[in-house]
Symmetry: C2
Subunit: 209 residues, 2 copies
Amino acid sequence: MKDPTPKRRRRKDARPGEIINAAMDVFVEHGFAASKLTDVAIRAGVAKGTLYLYFETKEDLFRATARQALTTNLEAVEQSSAAFNGSIADLVPVLLKRAAGRMGDGRIAGIVRMVLAESRAFPDLARIWHDEVVARILGRLAELIAAAQARGEVRAGDPGLFAISIVGPMVLGVLFQEVFGSDSRHAPDLDLLATQHAETVLQGLLAKP
Amino acid sequence: MKDPTPKRRRRKDARPGEIINAAMDVFVEHGFAASKLTDVAIRAGVAKGTLYLYFETKEDLFRATARQALTTNLEAVEQSSAAFNGSIADLVPVLLKRAAGRMGDGRIAGIVRMVLAESRAFPDLARIWHDEVVARILGRLAELIAAAQARGEVRAGDPGLFAISIVGPMVLGVLFQEVFGSDSRHAPDLDLLATQHAETVLQGLLAKP
DNA sequence: TCATTTAGTGACTCAAAAGTCATTAAACGG
DNA sequence: CCGTTTAATGACTTTTGAGTCACTAAATGA
């Protein structure tokens, strides 16, 4: 009689993904140095030794995990920054709303924090993070703003700095939620923030005379 | 003949401050888990055992260090958020300029990053950080905005979210500098950012019709 | 069905770093 | 100047967790 639930399973293909997935949870929760590979193994449902079949060292696993996190979200970025031909006034609210939705759920915020935290120890990851994600978003946005300036739609000014004015408050909002949770009196609702900030950055907060 | 430079010195009062100062450098550089108390001791010019005369454990030293960092900068905050009776249009550029100056030099940016990084492991510190620093800045700013709204100076909207619109881009700029350094093509000059963002958040980035 | 291969295991080794404590010597008071 | 106190030391002990490897058993195929 064949055992339907053998103690071990040999699944060479599935393991790396499962391990990285488990590792992401653990590394996001504790940071690189304070994470224990035993915990990763338990969460992935394998023995510690199994980790070493697929990854040379703890650092190796961390790099693979962070890379995965970054490149996965890269697709989302590509989609968001895809050619948009409307006016800036139309684009900004949509962009910020979409960002609020993406950041609100899932573990993106935690990943951002982890990468921030480890960027000193892993400058190569900081570089990937910069080149593949941050520079793309800011660069694409700056291009769109420059085009809008050429059309006379946006006033004079450094497009790169305008881009920071647009996304900065959303980043702050996300980090606020991530670090302090939503129980703070000052914790922003990300959807409301997206809506109001879009208006603010486009029209200014001063009352019209 | 008296030795003018004895091998040891007994300076019960000065030690804790010196140790915390050394610890701040090390913790900011490596984070809590990856920091070695031996390094702290060397940097403070004492032996490892001496640390344990003044602090129970590594965690204890870390808490004391972070507290010190937060409360020291608190004074700067108090000063910045001191009663300001001009219009919002006058306040915002001054406030952002001052923030740019403070963040640009010194180790404040590093401290912010460290607290962000360790806030999961030390939720009590996150609370202090929140109550003593973040909530004060945002709260004070929100008050000033609400008052300006009452005067008809600022348009309708949530004052707390307006506050985030004001400070968010500066925070992003500081974190950008801290994580990626100033060699990135997109690295913002903090002074320029302060100037342009003040204009943007007050007037909006759309050209006037 | 049995032999062979190799994914998977977890008790073990080993290095690193937290934390201890017997010893040393600076300060101080008589 | 000497005796006493205690800040300071650093070699030592202990703990923790990364990394190893002899062994186990699931798959494969002859």
